[in-house]
């Protein structure tokens, strides 16, 4: 049913394909992985610029009309942080030719051609980029960066991370920095594009019923004219914590947002992964987790209290929305649950539930083009691709002792409270 292939098609360029007719759509997705460094701003603007116009469709209105004519072909664009690297995403999702309303309409071939033109033949390649184009893109990116303030949960998590990783590449905003974006020139962007095509570690995923071989040939063709010198970004994993630090910032909010950053002791992104995932689920990843059942259900302190493992950097974040006056009790209770893990004091039911929940969710990875895509594309920097069924097997083999062992290496590093100033004492 799933006809998978993974192969290298150019130096540092990997192609993942999944030929299947069970979806209504095809998805072609490209990721370029670069080190997260002082070039972050110029890199960050690329996926947006590249997907807003191209040689044949020189402005976004013409491009959007073309996408609508391709039955609402949908652009994937964005940047993501994975450890100390910056992932630039671009891609297209479009319905399969079988569902076109007219005979012999070739949606797939046209969509693939369009996407490759976006990446390899941007409007600025031949110097046709105008000052207006550049100003528009800079404005849009700056507004996106500024709007990170709007979602307070995300904002609080971001602030905690920045404090915890001060002086570390991991603290660099993957969308770039406003002052740097403001100063970006046409030359900076051209150089960033050239550099990305030459040096990024690249993965391309093609999922669906389209003519994969033909698209593969077209991709190879484009890469044959590029002098590839791939550089693989590296991530520093550190488990050193001198002393847990606590920080507060104030904002006009109805509810305070608590974030606790912990270092897990993972030495790389696959180090004891199954044991860490089970531990995270048990701690705060599922509705019967220790955090949910104690901080929410037993103490009635919050609506949400959960933990998240970021394997790319070997860190974990706990997040909760609380009343400021409950800060000490919530923090103490959360850290106490970490001791429960270390001391092997959790129930068999919760332990089994954690494993079952992860395995059940891994079983569904192949059920949407998006989940297949994100599973494989985020492994762009892994030499060996981990399949969901393999991780599932590893999860099943995790023991209570494994959980205690890895829990003991998890150390709280930074406690951050975004304190609500508008809180009223109603409860």
């Amino acid at each position: 049913m799933n006809n998978f292939q993974i192969k290298n098609i150019a130096d540092g360029v990997r192609l993942f394909t999944c030929q299947t007719s069970r979806f209504k759509t095809n998805k072609i997705s490209i990721v370029l992985a670069l080190p997260l460094n002082e070039n972050a701003s110029a890199n960050a603007i690329l996926p947006y610029i590249l997907t807003r116009s191209c040689k044949d469709y020189p402005d976004f209105t013409q491009l959007n009309r073309c996408l609508a004519d391709l039955y609402n072909a949908t652009v994937i664009r964005g940047v993501q942080k994975a450890g100390d690297s910056q992932l630039l995403h671009l891609g297209l999702s479009f319905i399969d030719d079988r569902f076109a309303l007219e005979e012999n309409e070739s949606i797939s071939a046209n969509a693939a051609k369009l996407l490759l033109q976006m990446l390899f033949e941007p409007k600025f390649k031949d110097g046709e980029f105008t000052q207006e184009d550049l100003d528009l893109e800079k404005r849009l990116l700056i507004e996106t960066i500024r709007s990170e303030l709007n979602d307070k949960r995300i904002y609080a998590a971001k602030r905690c991370l920045e404090i915890m990783f001060k002086d570390d590449a991991y603290s660099i905003n993957t969308l770039g920095k406003i002052s740097e974006v403001e100063n970006l020139t046409f030359d900076d962007i051209f150089a960033a594009w050239k550099n990305a095509l030459q040096t990024a570690t690249i993965q391309i995923n093609i999922i669906g019923n389209c003519n994969i071989e033909k698209i593969e040939d077209e991709i190879k063709d484009y890469f044959s004219s590029i002098d590839r010198k791939p550089v693989k970004p590296e991530t520093v994993f550190s488990s050193d914590v001198e002393k847990m630090s606590e920080h507060r910032e104030k904002m006009n909010l109805n509810q305070s947002k608590l974030v606790i950053g912990l270092r897990t002791g993972m030495k790389n992104q696959t180090d004891d992964l199954a044991a860490f995932q089970v531990t995270n689920a048990l701690f705060g990843g599922i509705p019967t987790s220790l955090l949910f059942s104690h901080v929410r259900e037993e103490l009635s302190l919050c609506y949400y209290c959960s933990s998240q493992l970021q394997r790319g950097k070997g860190v974990m974040f706990v997040q909760s929305g609380i009343e400021e006056k409950h800060y000490e009790i919530a923090k103490t209770e959360i850290l106490k649950q970490l001791d429960v893990l270390c001391n092997n004091e959790f129930s068999d039911e919760t332990f089994d539930a954690a494993k079952k929940a992860i395995c059940d969710s891994l079983g569904g990875v192949y059920d949407t083009p998006s989940s297949i895509n994100s599973w494989y594309i985020t492994q762009v920097l892994s030499d060996e691709i981990l399949k969901p069924e393999v991780l599932s097997e590893n999860i099943r083999n995790v023991t209570r002792e494994d959980v205690c062992r890895v829990a003991k290496t998890i150390v709280p590093d930074t406690v951050y409270l975004l304190e609500g100033e508008a809180e009223t004492d109603e409860n």
Binding site: E148, N150, N254, Y366
Partner: protein, 425 residues
């Protein structure tokens, strides 16, 4: 029991509609090749149902705002294990949501489907409310309300609804307020439960790695047959006019957020599927991302990529909404009103109309990838009393005249209000 198979040849999809002896309508959409299944057990009961009676009852009951959502939280509990603890044994990922007009209990799983379905049908049919458990939930939901108060998008929407509606309960916050939920007690919860959780007011929709036999095996054993109940809802009269045309509040946001709404005069209680699809086409032609107006607004730095629109409608209300981020929301409003005037004057371009229709058809096809979307949409279609594939027929047959007909009653500048969240200094 009646089982009907409905097929869409071109789309290569089918589903079964089952009128179960218990009084419940069940939909099953098998998806070959999928490992996941997704189930929705829903009732046509949401935040707008604040005043009601059952046929035969003398008095209407008025209940505190937010009670449908509160009830959703409390159903997860029982005298022994709560539903999350039961699902923990099967590995299913369970949740629930309450909207303006429905409450749905859902799970996704790739493992023990029958075991998970049994849990779902069982806990939703087994209410257990006490004063103690109600009090505990008031703390948790109180925090949920405060969390949504910190969400600028939520404030934007409800401020707009307050501008548009004098009396319609759609303007009430779905979760209620800290004060209104303090008035909820176990008796009121039982009253609402016994009114709205009758199987004739509910549906079960399942999609994915499922078969009719599996679903019926569990449904036959778990569903408690109930006599159909006739629910009478009463809504206060809503004038055609809006309440006020502008509301602005300050919150910690980076730049002003706006939501613009055009209230519509209603001659019937609900918009038909054709009217709804025609309205979407109209909005897309007016300011979709391939339109001239969108291009102008974008190039004049009045909007960014957060700009979007929605046809917001339900029982007794309908409106066109536009939202986004802008340094000059009033100017955006004026330009949209101007765009509508030009559209009325110049008519609808046939080429644009065809392009938008094609794109909308593509978007409809795309929805058939995800089993969670499918199960939720099946429930929505059931509560709207339409066939699941009807939208394809409507879009294929839609004409420019249908869109013009919507333009006759929609997007009237005199019924337009603007909600703005401005950055706090």
């Amino acid at each position: 029991m009646k089982i009907e198979k409905i097929v869409h040849e071109k789309l290569d999809e089918f589903y079964y509609k089952i009128n179960h002896d218990s009084g419940l309508t069940i939909y099953v959409m098998p998806k070959p090749g999928y490992a996941s299944s997704y189930a929705v057990f829903g009732t046509k009961y949401g935040s707008i149902d604040t005043c009601f009676r059952l046929e035969g009852e003398e008095e209407f009951t008025t209940v505190p705002e937010g009670i449908a959502h509160f009830l959703e939280h409390k159903l997860f509990e029982s005298e022994e294990l709560d539903a999350f603890q039961l699902y923990a044994q099967t590995g299913a990922n369970a949740n629930a949501y309450t909207s303006f007009d429905r409450t749905c209990y859902i799970f996704a799983c790739t493992g023990d489907f029958k075991g998970s379905l049994k849990i779902l049908l069982d806990f939703v049919q087994s209410p257990y409310f006490t004063q103690k458990t109600v009090a505990k939930e008031q703390g948790i939901i109180g925090q949920e309300i405060k969390m949504t108060q910190d969400n600028p998008g939520w404030a934007l929407l409800f401020n707009l609804l307050e501008c548009l509606y004098h009396n319609h309960p759609v303007k009430i916050e779905i979760a209620g307020t800290v004060d209104s939920i303090a008035k909820i007690d176990a008796d009121l919860l039982y009253k609402c439960y016994n009114t709205f959780y009758s199987l004739s007011n509910m549906t079960l929709c399942v999609a994915g790695n499922v078969s009719v036999d599996d679903v019926l095996e569990i449904a036959d054993a778990q569903l408690k047959k109930s006599e159909p109940k006739v629910i009478e809802r009463t809504f206060p009269e809503e004038p055609d006019e809006i309440v006020c045309d502008y509301k602005e509040v300050s919150l910690p946001v980076s730049s002003p957020l706006f939501m613009l709404g055009f209230k519509e005069k209603m001659d019937s209680t609900e918009r038909s599927l054709k009217e709804r699809i025609a309205a979407k086409v109209l909005m897309e032609i007016l300011c979709g991302d391939s339109s001239e107006l969108y291009k102008e607004l974008f190039n004049e730095n009045l909007i960014n990529t957060t700009f979007s629109f929605e046809y917001f409608n339900g029982f007794g209300h309908s409106a066109c909404f536009f939202e986004g981020e802008s340094n000059d929301p009033k100017k955006v409003r004026d330009r949209i009103i101007e765009g509508v005037r030009k559209l009325r004057e110049n008519g609808i371009d046939e080429k644009e109309f065809i392009r938008v229709k094609k794109a909308l058809y593509g978007a409809m096809v795309m929805e058939y990838n995800d089993v969670d979307d499918l199960a939720n949409s099946l429930a929505e279609a059931h509560f709207d009393n339409i066939g699941f594939f009807d939208d394809f027929k409507v879009i294929e047959e839609l004409t420019v005249e249908d869109v013009k007909a919507v333009l006759d009653y929609a997007l009237k500048p005199e019924y337009c209000a603007l909600s703005v969240i401005s950055p706090k200094e």
